[in-house]
Structures are given as structure tokens and as C-alpha cells.
Amino acid sequence: MDVALSTLLSPIILFFALGMVAALLRSQMSVPEAIAKGMAIYLMMAIGLKGGVEMSKNPLTTDVLLVLLAGIILSFLIPLIAFVFLRLSTKLDRVDAAATAAHYGSISIVTFVAATEAVRLSGLDSSGHLVAVAALMETPAIITALFLASRGGSTRTKPVAGSEQGELVREVFLNASIVVLVGALAIGWIAGEEGTASVQPFFVDLFQGVLCLFLLDMGLSAGRGLRQGWRQLSFATVGFGIYMPLISSLIAASFAFVLGMPAGDAALLITLTASASYIAVPAAMRLALPEAKPSIYLTLSLGVTFPFNVTIGIPIYIYLALLITGQG
């Protein structure tokens, strides 16, 4: 209960709530687009560097490699489960269901950053390699979704005009979030604590304040997305946006339990698995499955699942991690 309260009443979450309420009330408040994108890059650099520095302190053990593998397996697996639930419980067609499922197999790096802060506030420690897990979990879900969509047979008789070989691969593996996150992780790993000491004031001391401002903007985005797109979502689809993270969290918790992960790491793996992408996957889906409706998958992941995870989900996932590690 204390964990849930301290998370819910942290400035980060309160600023997110402020942004969301402001957008739902049609406030004109906005954060300039270039600043929002700059902050997203800053946060990914900061979290990547921090993870890399933490990883440089410890050797790469089999346990760490198993956690990385678990992340990849979860990212491949969750879209299959999400797809089945979507097809059974909603009226989404195969392509829309596959595209939506991809979002739930991939991860939200902002949810991960918020969870990292919540874990720290709860007095738990987390390892740097979870950042690498986050990067590895970005793309496998897209491959599963393309497989699911292709099983129904393509409606296209010839390739989309102007499409180029390799454009999807570039979008999937070289999108900004993966390049910045993996790049910063590698730089932190190579430079270590001593090497990164000179940039610590920028990436550590300012982190909390920038995160507050970024989450204010995310609240505005989520609120606007929900206000503009809610008509596209059925009751069953909105329900999926809330119960699917919980199902994913239980599956991830079982992986964390089997791997014997410490509570902080388990909470982050559970959060990553329960989160839904709204940056990397929507962009990839527009190239790979342009027939899928972004008004469904983006509204659902950004307008429903993201607010749920940031406010209610993260405390649940931390509690779940405490339970499976016998601390609950």
C-alpha cells in the first residue's frame, strides 16, 4: 500500500495526471514538439548511460544472459497471446489485431523510466542490464505481428508504390529509440563510472526534473489521443487495453520467479512486459501493415494502456515482484 501511494503521489505521476486532465478538459497548454522530442532523446540517453555504467561494474554472467533471453522470448510470445484475446473478445480483423498485438509485445521506454523511479522510491535496487532487456524487447514483437498478419494472406496484389527493399528493416532496427538506447548503453559500459563522471550532473542531477516535464507532455499526448480517438474504440477493445497488461505481467512474473530475479529487477521485467509501445511500433506498422488502423492501436496503447500502467499498473507490478520474491 505504501509502495502504491508513494508511486501515485510522486511528482512524476502527478505531473502526468495534470497533463492528462488538462488535455481532457481541452486546455490549450502544450509543450513544443521539438522540446518533447529532445527530452525523449535525453531520457533514453540518461537511462542507457546509467544502465551501461551499472553493467560495467559486474561481469556478464549466465544469469544476466538468461534474463536477456527471457526478454526476447516474452516479446515474441506476448503478441501471440494478445492476438488470440483480441480476435476472441473484439471485432478487430486479422490485420488490426496483429498490429495491435505488436504494440503489446514491444515495450514503452517511458513506462520503464517511470517504473525505474518507482522501484527506486520503493527502496529496491535494480540492475543496469534491464536497460539492455528493454532494447532487446523493442522489435521481436513486430516480427510476430507480421507473421500473424501474413497468415491470413495479403490483400495486396502488388507492392506498394515507392517502397524500397530494406526500409522496414531500417525502421525496425535503426529507429531513434533503439539507436540512442543501445548507443548510450554501450558508451556507459565502455566509459564506466569514472569515464562518465563529468557528464553525471547533466544526466543524473537534471533527470528527475526533465522526467516531470516529459511526463506532463506525455499526459497531454495521452489525454488528447484519448479525446480524439475514443470513438474508434469499442468497450471490449478498451477492456483489452487494461486486462492485457495484467495478463502480460503474470506471465513475466512467472519468468522472473523461475529465473530467481531480485525484486527490483523482477518489477522492471514485469513492467516492460506489461507496457505497450507507442513510439517504435506505430512507425514500423505504418510501413509494414499500412492497412491497419492507427486510430485503434495508437489510441489504445497511448490513451488507455500507458495511463493505466503509469498510475495503477506500476504499483501492482512492484507488489507482484515483492510477492514472487517472498517480500510481499
Binding site: 506498394v160 515507392g162 480524439q228 513510439i279 506505430p282 486510430s295 495508437l298
Partner: protein, 101 residues
């Protein structure tokens, strides 16, 4: 002044490179891509600042050429818009320096 055709294509940002490739392959001598701020379509309002992935953003592509070049482009753009969100219009315009097109 000489009459030419002006293509105005409003298309989702993620597909704009495909549209540009179509124009270049067809031999259009130039085009300009402009960002779109906000709009309404398919019963939904959209704003470019709602979506951090920018995958929902729209752009406007303007290109001018003679009819011989523009007609085949329209077939390819038709194919593109069969998959991607967008609208295209073609209007007759008068150009001051026809050799530029």
C-alpha cells in the same frame, strides 16, 4: 505563361519517402514537402503533437510538371494511397518559367 499540372498530395509522414521516390522515378524535376499541423478525417481530429512517434503526422507534397509526366505519376500515387492514408488532387496552373519543369 504556360499551362502545367500541379500535384498536391497530403499523405501520412511515414509514407512520404515512398511518394517522393515515385515522383523522382517518374522524372518530375522537383517537389516540396511541407508539414501539416492538424486536420480532420475519417471522423477523427488529429494534431501533429499528439503522437510522439510522429507516425500519425501528415505532410503535404507539392510537385509541378507537364501532363506527360504527371499522368503516370497519378497511377503510382493511386497505388500508394490504396495502402496509405492520404488524398491527392491535380490542378491546372500557369508557370512563369516552363523550362524549370
Amino acid at each position: 505563361m504556360e499551362k502545367h499540372l500541379r500535384i498536391e498530395l497530403i499523405i501520412e509522414r511515414m509514407a512520404h519517402k515512398r511518394a517522393c521516390r515515385v515522383l523522382e522515378t517518374a522524372g518530375m524535376t522537383g517537389y516540396t514537402v511541407l508539414p501539416a499541423m492538424a486536420g480532420y478525417g475519417n471522423s477523427k481530429r488529429w494534431n501533429r503533437d499528439t503522437d510522439l512517434s510522429a507516425s500519425g503526422d501528415m505532410v503535404v507534397i507539392i510537385s509541378i510538371g507537364d501532363e506527360e509526366k504527371v499522368r503516370p505519376v497519378m497511377d503510382e500515387i493511386g497505388n500508394l494511397l490504396g495502402a496509405h492514408i492520404g488524398v491527392v488532387t491535380v490542378t491546372e496552373v500557369e508557370v512563369l518559367r516552363p523550362s524549370r519543369f
